[in-house]
């Protein structure tokens, strides 16, 4: 009798796609709400592009973390690494000893170093990712404050030119009151975001590594039995995450132009929240990588809404926190309804006692 049912279930949406669809719908609803409530600002394309322009670094951090989360892990050091990279690169550029390229390599190097260290400790020594990356977070924060306490503006001409570089979209824009057409502007960081999204989406959907990450996130024991090198897969997921955090630091610096101890603060939490809102299951194994930017957009739209409403900025954090609760519970409900099992909150493995 049960086999009859399975033939019906063939068309059933996979969990990843279901959560992704929900994430997409929520974003559309949220943005639609914003359009209705504050048409003045949200009706302009530039407002949408500015979400990317000013938050490119957050988008990038979220992407890297998404890979780790699909693999069933977590990395809370990403924000601190991002901040550390901005300061280190700013100092290098200001010291006059390096050019823009060497700063980029420094950024990648720092990210890679953290990624390698976390990957090794978590994958091969099998230590809890939460604890390891917590240590990494403290380390990166400590290094950041040790390097330089004051904000450090980068004045190097080549970098300032890069920072101020703007790409205009001639066919898209708004006409202001004087009747002058103002084209939309995007910054180079947005290009990086788009390239990385495409790259990572391909990686997760079509590469052997990407599918192995899904397998490991879905069931680590089974993945091993299926002949997947679980440790290597976990290792590389953290390396990618670290490296991505390094890139995000550089992009952050490109956006703000200054090293600051507050840079990248709370990015790890925002990135986790974005991924959850983007339909990445905290338990791992389920989620579409494209959910990461969608989730980030949802989070940013909510924050913009609150800002536009002119309420205290503290409220942004409060609302973000509450929404995170809501989305995690929503995920659990959706997943348990699908599994037809009893309702149970889905805690990620790194919060559970070791099996």
């Amino acid at each position: 009798m049960r086999s009859l049912n399975t033939s019906k279930a063939k068309t059933r949406l996979s969990n990843s796609n279901l959560l992704f669809m929900i994430a997409g719908i929520i974003f559309v609803l949220m943005y639609g709400f914003a359009l209705i409530s504050f048409p003045g600002s949200f009706m302009q394309f530039q407002t949408f592009f500015d979400l990317f322009n000013f938050n490119a670094a957050l988008f990038i951090v979220t992407l890297g973390l998404c890979v780790v989360m699909i693999g069933g892990g977590i990395d809370i050091s990403v924000g601190a690494v991002c901040g550390l990279v901005t300061m280190a690169c700013a100092m290098l550029l200001e010291s006059g000893m390096g050019n823009v390229w060497s700063a980029l390599f420094l950024a990648l190097g720092i990210g890679l170093a953290f990624g390698l260290m976390h990957g090794y400790l978590i994958a091969y020594l099998e230590i809890q990712p939460f604890i390891i990356t917590l240590a990494g977070m403290f380390l990166a924060q400590g290094l950041l404050t040790t390097l330089h306490k004051e904000p450090l503006n980068v004045t190097m001409p080549a970098f300032v030119a890069l920072r101020n570089f703007i790409i205009e979209i001639p066919w898209l824009g708004t006409v202001n009151r004087l009747g002058v057409f103002i084209p939309c502007e995007i910054k180079p960081g947005v290009i990086v975001v788009v390239v990385l999204v495409v790259l990572y989406a391909i990686l997760m959907k079509w590469s052997r590594f990407g599918r192995n990450v899904y397998a490991v996130g879905g069931n680590r024991q089974s993945a091993r039995m299926l002949g997947i090198n679980v440790k290597q897969t976990i290792f590389f997921s953290y390396v990618i995450c670290g490296l991505t955090a390094g890139i995000s630091g550089f992009i952050f610096l490109m956006t703000t132009g200054a090293g600051n101890i507050g840079n990248g603060a709370l990015f790890e939490m925002k990135a986790i929240a974005s991924n959850v809102m983007g339909g990445i299951l905290l338990n791992g194994g389920v989620g579409n990588l494209l959910g990461a930017p969608i989730g980030t957009l949802t989070l940013l739209t909510i924050n913009e809404l609150i800002r536009a409403a002119g309420v205290q900025s503290n409220l942004q954090a409060i609302v973000s926190g509450l929404l995170l609760y809501l989305f995690i519970v929503l995920q659990s409900v959706v997943m348990s309804l699908r599994g037809r099992s009893k309702f149970r909150l889905a805690f990620p493995s790194w919060l559970k006692a070791r099996q």
């Binding site: 063939k10 192995n212 997947i228």
Partner: protein, 500 residues
Amino acid sequence: MQSEIILKMEGIDKSFPGVRALHNVDFTLRKGEIHALMGENGAGKSTLIKILTGVYQKDAGQIFIEGRPVYFKSPQEAQNMGIGTVFQEIALCPNLTVAENIFIGRGRDNFIKWKQMNAKAAEMLNSLGIPASPTQELASCSIAVQQMIAIARAVDMDCKILILDEPTSSLDEDEVQKLFALMRQLKARGVGIIFITHFIDEVYAISDRITVLRNGELIGEYHTSALPQIELISKMMGKALSDVSAIKKHELPKSDDSVPVFEARALSSAAGVRPFNFKIQKGEVNGFAGLLGSGRSESVRAIFAADKVTGGEVKINGRRVKIKTPLQAMKQGIGYLPEDRKGDGIIDELSVRDNLILALQVMKGFFRPLSRKQAEEFTDQFIQKLDIKTPSPNTPIKSLSGGNQQKVILARWLLTQPMYLILDEPTRGIDVGTKVEIQKLVLKLAADGMSITFISSEIDEMLRVCARLIVMKDREIVGELSGMNLTEQDVMHMIAQGGK
């Protein structure tokens, strides 16, 4: 049956610290045969399989595949030599598609060609008659289909030797038949299948030969058709035939007017069991009989208040009491050994001793801990009394065999000295020898004055142990049977006629 030999294991020895798991064991598998590997828990079946699949390294002996000596250092190497294994716990990823589960972890290609992979998978599923679509998420398939997909994966890896380790334990009758059809198909293709199961009927339904192990030694290899069931059982247990049937149940206590140890009137629970009356005398062994889903477990769970009790009253020794939680039931002297050993019973990581004293500790409350000396004393006593095979009381319970785990849980309840003990499927998934031991123990406990409710899905087992059967159908009690000479027929008739 003189077909060519594809696998020969000779003189296999394996010891673990303190235990000799295998001694001089031979095993031969021929092309296109289904070979049942039988033995009680701890006989060495799993150890032999783990050596064959490269999980363990043998201490001595040789393995030949198609006449060539082989030596596996890892499961990967065994797989490459054409040994496919499908475990009881399905080792697939539920979040991936069916096609991915068949192919992942095998190719060396760095990129996945989805179309090609799905087409190949569709073809394979078709040829094996597996009702699944390649693009479907594995989690949406039934357990039986998942099992078949695991087999398909093994088969596609050009396996010459397929090991099925208790594949049927979570399947229903229909699904088992489908699995058997698949096995016969593979057999026709010339795959040698090693089949491990606890269900003796299945062995006779499908296997060509049987190899029996006992206590790590080879007892012999037999043609299935030439080995009567009862002989197989006695070979597995190493006991004379008379011993198996030597169990004699007790008669019901003569006087029915004595005050019952436990009595329930119109008891009902949130799990949906109809209000029922029930009583049990001192020293009586009774049981709830019925098909799966008839409400057997729900009834006893209502007695123990494991499900929310919604109505009715309960008397213990004639005195009305309130039982709303399992702890209250325990304090009234009721013990309950749940059906789901893994989920409700054992705590994997804790030692045998800690698992054993758990219930007693809970009853005493957390502020009066058992002294270590006491705990050790109790543990040693019960390990000896129930013949629990464990290297030491400190061993984590998860490394014990299923039957021994069950004994630990049984001991846990005995330690609280209940006057009324409920055993829900205490013998499921454990070997024949331990089953008989548990049955004997139940009767001995009853003789000592304990009242016991015994539930089993094997009716003949209940007939052997219970003096009174309460027959259930569709969550309702439809009748009672008692007497010394009940047969399966009697029970089935009552179920068939019962209710309407």
